[in-house]
Amino acid sequence: MNTIGKQVRLGLNGDEAVAYAAYHADVDVISAYPITPQTIIVERLSEFVYNGELDAEFIAVESEHSALSAAVGASLAGARTFTATASQGLALMYEILYIASSLRTSIVMALGNRAFSAPINIHCSHDDAYAARDAGWIQFFAENVQEAYDLTLIAFKVSEDKKVLFPSIVNLDGFILTHSVEPLTIFEDKKEIKEFLPDREAVNKIDPSNPITYGPLALPDYYMEIKKQQAEAFNSTPARIKEVFSEYEEFSGRSYSPLKKLYVDDADIVFVVLGSTAGTMRTMVKKWRKNGEKVGVLSLTLYRPFPSREVAEALKDVDTIVVMDRSYSFGSPGGQLYMDVAAALNKYGRYNRLINAIYGLGGRDFTPEMAEDMLHATKDPSIREIWVGVRG
């Protein structure tokens, strides 16, 4: 593989990796509020700015609501714009999430996935990512620190693309990725990235010589057409996202695709998972394969837009699908990822047996023993939902 940018291998935690990516993207405006487990990101970026290494405006806002509000303003004004948050912070931004995507901004947000209160908890659940799932943001899930770095750079390129123009969230599991140090390869300097990610050329940006009215009031006579247009545009983004994946591969030597499969093609049982647990599941599946179990793992790098066709295609002939949700959707037919997978299969005429596994809430460590519990559950045809690793 021909790599263009000069790269170095070093050890960073996930937050530092994201901060480096934003720094290497030569971001113009950072608008953020501290919240565990994301805080390291904004601390590192503050250092880059305060030490004069990054020419950017760091808006140290007074709340996450204002963090995203200011980011919307900055993005509309043409700046490459970054923010980061987690959990309650994302919840406080919620109102503006929809506005940011509907106004077709190009904000990139790192989300250090963390459980919602109460009880207050600082560790990993996917509550926050799921809460944003309908908001019109492209969502990537990083499995490791390398991916957190790469996907942040990819997210800028995707979100600012004239064929896309939707904001992105890069999810990284709180503590498991945000605070763990791993080896990764990053570009040596922000200069190295320019060829892949040139300065932003904003479309329809705020400009006194072109007075546009952003965010008007639209009533029933037009609202639906505006939403239909947004829906069509959003749903067509994966084509461009895949192209950007390829461009990044050419540039960095690291390849990405909307979903990752291990042994899925001939599997009887497939585990579907998001985030850092994918690696643990691959390790388990390799072990089980040696025992003759026909098992596989499917993990999603692209969570929104949900790659329905690819997921249905990959899973259509699988007997039992275990969909792992690191969150609970109270009162709904299943967890959030479970509903996505079920709907995707249904859309393509498949009615496989699905089991919903709820795991790892609030940072409960997902251990090999819990993986064994899930495999065991697949043997009992009556089981449709299990909470793995819960006492009682």
Partner: protein
């Protein structure tokens, strides 16, 4: 793959130790992961941290359950055997901080090593910060990374005088650690 579990108290550099070890391994071209365990801990509370080192990609992301090596940074934690010995395998080794290593006893029959990190820290750093001497001891006993790699990691983490004295502590820890019989 080698799995290390660190025991210390908040403020003693338990997390930093694990991080330095992982970084040292990464500088050698190995794969490594440092996993801190975070709670609401404040200065003084018992904390754990984990390091995995391997020649192959590490994909698992859970905390270390069955460590090959346990490092006890704070000597007072030795009293909590159920915590220190949890999940140990028959051939796991324990490296602990002890003010009188030659009179120390192996822990519950496990292969044990002791180093007087307290005095090393007080003599070199002037404050009871034991962690760099303890990482030195770990490397001295096991050789899982080269001492030079660890020193590189220390130098990148600290600057100036702080780096120098911590490297001194690492070297003394590596040299002075002894097997407890």
């Amino acid at each position: 793959m080698i799995e290390v579990r660190w025991h210390g108290r908040g403020g003693q550099g338990t997390v930093t130790s694990s991080q330095l070890l992982a970084n040292a391994a990464i500088y050698e071209g190995k794969y490594a992961i440092h996993i801190p365990e975070f709670g609401p801990e404040r200065r003084g509370a018992p904390v754990r941290s984990y390091t995995r080192i391997s020649d192959e990609v590490i994909e698992i992301r859970y905390g270390v359950i069955n460590p090959d090596i346990v490092v006890v940074i704070d000597p007072t934690l030795l009293a909590y055997k159920d915590i220190i010995l949890a999940g140990l395998k028959e051939d796991s080794i324990i490296i602990f901080n002890h003010t009188d290593p030659s009179n120390a006893k192996p822990l519950e029959g496990y292969e044990s090593y002791a180093v007087d990190a307290y005095h090393i820290a007080m003599e070199i750093i002037g404050r009871p910060i034991y962690n760099t001497a303890m990482i030195g001891a770990l490397v001295g006993v096991t050789g899982i990374v080269r001492l030079e790699s660890l020193e590189e990691a220390v130098r990148k983490r600290f600057s100036g005088v702080l780096a120098d004295i911590n490297i001194k502590a690492v070297r003394r820890g590596a040299k002075e650690v002894i097997k407890v019989e």
